[in-house]
Symmetry: C2
Subunit: 391 residues, 2 copies
């Protein structure tokens, strides 16, 4: 059973078709699992094989095409009529001679759309170079048009129910971060701390549960805090080191990420303490600047000016649109908080603002997930912004 | 610090170059995160942005190219010299105008390889259609050659240390499955059971820890056992239903998957009980047939004949090569246990044999991960093969 009303899915499809019309696209082939979910409700860990949702200007409901064994999963999770769910035979899977995009092309041909303009998500996860070449080869009379992020941009303003899911994820994220802070200690193995984090993510609260997050917990410690995307080992934490904790919670595939840094020991280095104060001030000021009508790059400039006063600079962006997603990324790849991004903030856009400073052999992180409100912003989690110190 | 000896990495690169030479490839651009790890040791959750390892016949060490903030991660996890690690600027990330493959092309040009034959992994995860087009556009004088699975095939026979990691994962997998069986019960929320499974996966044992698995726990219950890739909800388990549990454990990115089905209640349906017996017999017979010299399709035939005697058939393959991997798949996409696959088994090939029967509104699963030994096979987990019943 799909998690949103049929009307909400229909509205999403309607907006998608509007964007297709503007771009001259007749038939859209959607491979990004978050976009497939957004348009149909489909939710399953089956994106490791090619699968698509097709939206045609000529038809009301999208079509789901995936592996035969997953068709029952589509029947259970989407709002689509059963005849809109098409499973392909198993010998198309990871075959040296067959490819599932041949089935997709056949379906397009059988509906007489093979001379139309077909949009494909050229830089989406799980739409391989081979997938595109197979589509082209089997639809020689079609015109192809890059529709990368077309649906992702439709997703940028969240509905009331989507916001509710992210708020719920934010409440779980508070518990997750508290559990991390409570558990990480000298002598505790990194894997044992991460085990408690996972458990807290998935249990959720007494009234609703948690879902898997699109990034695993990222917990570099010691010198490894100089880089953001390392995970964990089975070594025990040492004393007098920092731990960066980029965590999150997820509810019904909607995310609220949350990052903090904790120092274990009595003697945090002066540069870490000083940097943490500047970063937290920059985070506070940038959040205070959030409101409808402001652009993404203006928010980044607020941050940039705060840290420049302390002689710091950061090359990488400070945030991105966030929400519904699947591994490997909870970011939506649309708006980023960085120079040059002129996206104008509107109510119920949702972002993960992550202020991470990664130096040669140390680093500090502080992040918040929030929505733009009519007059400012609302963070999804309520958690102190500071360098945590565990003596 | 890389997890294998420099000599082992060098041997992997040597075998890769042999395969490149056979196929007429001068320069190999590797995007698959498992292949990147295999050749260099690189381990980080950064494959959500384009990153590659380049192997050239002209140079000893591979080159790692990734996002600037991840270069320190490459220094921490690979055996490469620092000058072989190249980070690109952050404004290449998810940009509408720049693309990281431009940096990859520039590196290839700067080394004078832009008129060579370049291999790319055309159907790999995280090598998008756009990535390929950008490479082609920026290397107009190069000849491109599909090198999909080239490194994956080099990976098919595991070293002693790789087998050790999979054996360790198998010991964790036993604990994971036992925890699932102990925890799933009427009235327990699905998410609370999965939380205990995750915790057990990551804690590992007292002497070594667990890593994240490339699939999340797949735990469809009730009618949803008719399809394999649904995850979990926050509803409590009902009485008199079945739960399919496709689980795994991972140690240092090496996997041992393990699947079982449990019936909760006193009255398991006759067709489930009968099917479970046939499937377990088929599993036992197929495993008994494993030995060097036999082909993958011959193993599948043993299974097929057992279930045919009971009037059953299964369209989908019954297993695949498994080992080192990253989400979204622990399978290696090389050998599959299915008709037409003539791969000859050799010692220390490793497979996940999964016998899953998915019917209209019910299903049954039983799986084992194993290595081929000199005289037969060794399963990585030791766990009873049967329909579990929890009254």
């Amino acid at each position: 059973m799909a998690l949103f009303s049929i009307e909400e899915y229909q509205e999403r499809v309607r907006k998608t078709k509007m964007s297709m019309t503007e771009k001259g696209i007749d038939v859209l082939v959607v491979s990004d699992p978050a976009n497939m979910n957004y348009l149909t409700g489909y939710d399953g860990w089956s994106f490791y094989v090619p699968q698509v949702v097709i939206v045609s200007l000529e038809e009301d409901q999208p079509i789901w095409i995936g592996r035969g064994m997953d068709a029952n999963g589509a029947k259970h999770t989407t709002y689509l009529s059963n005849e809109r769910i098409i499973g392909y035979a198993d010998d198309y899977v990871q075959s040296p001679i067959k490819h599932p995009m041949q089935v997709v092309a056949d379906e397009i041909k059988s509906r007489g759309w093979d001379t139309k303009t077909i949009g494909t998500e050229m830089d989406a996860y799980y739409f391989s170079a081979k997938s595109f070449i197979e589509l082209q080869k089997n639809l020689p009379n079609a015109k192809f048009h890059d529709a990368n992020l077309l649906v992702s941009w439709v997703r940028i303003i969240k509905s009331a129910r989507e916001i509710e899911f992210m708020q719920k994820a934010g409440k779980i994220a508070e518990r997750v971060m508290q559990k991390a802070i409570d558990t990480v200690a000298p002598g505790v193995r990194e894997c044992d701390a991460v085990a408690e984090i996972y458990r807290t993510q998935i249990r959720g609260t007494d009234t609703y549960g948690g879902d898997y997050t699109s990034f695993v917990p990222m917990m570099p410690c010691g010198e490894k805090t100089s880089t953001p995307h390392l995970t964990w080992t089975d070594e025990p934490y040492q004393n007098e080191i920092a731990v960066n904790m980029e965590l999150a919670a997820c509810h019904n595939r909607y995310h609220s990420p949350l990052a903090r840094t904790m120092y274990i020991g009595k003697n945090p280095p002066g540069n870490l303490v000083d940097t943490s104060k500047v970063v937290v001030e920059g985070c506070n000021k940038a959040l205070d600047a959030i409101k409808p009508g402001v652009t993404c790059e203006e928010i980044e400039l607020v941050w940039r000016q705060v840290i420049a006063q302390a002689g710091l600079e950061k090359e990488s962006r400070i945030g991105y649109s966030v929400g519904l997603n699947y591994p490997p990324d909870w970011g939506e790849h649309t708006a980023s908080l960085r120079p040059g991004d002129k996206t104008v903030l509107e109510p119920n856009m949702t972002f993960h603002m992550i202020l991470g400073m990664w130096m040669d052999d140390w680093g500090f992180e502080c992040s918040e997930s929030f929505r733009v409100t009519d007059g400012g912003h609302e963070t999804f989690a309520n958690f102190p912004r500071k360098l945590f110190i565990k003596e």
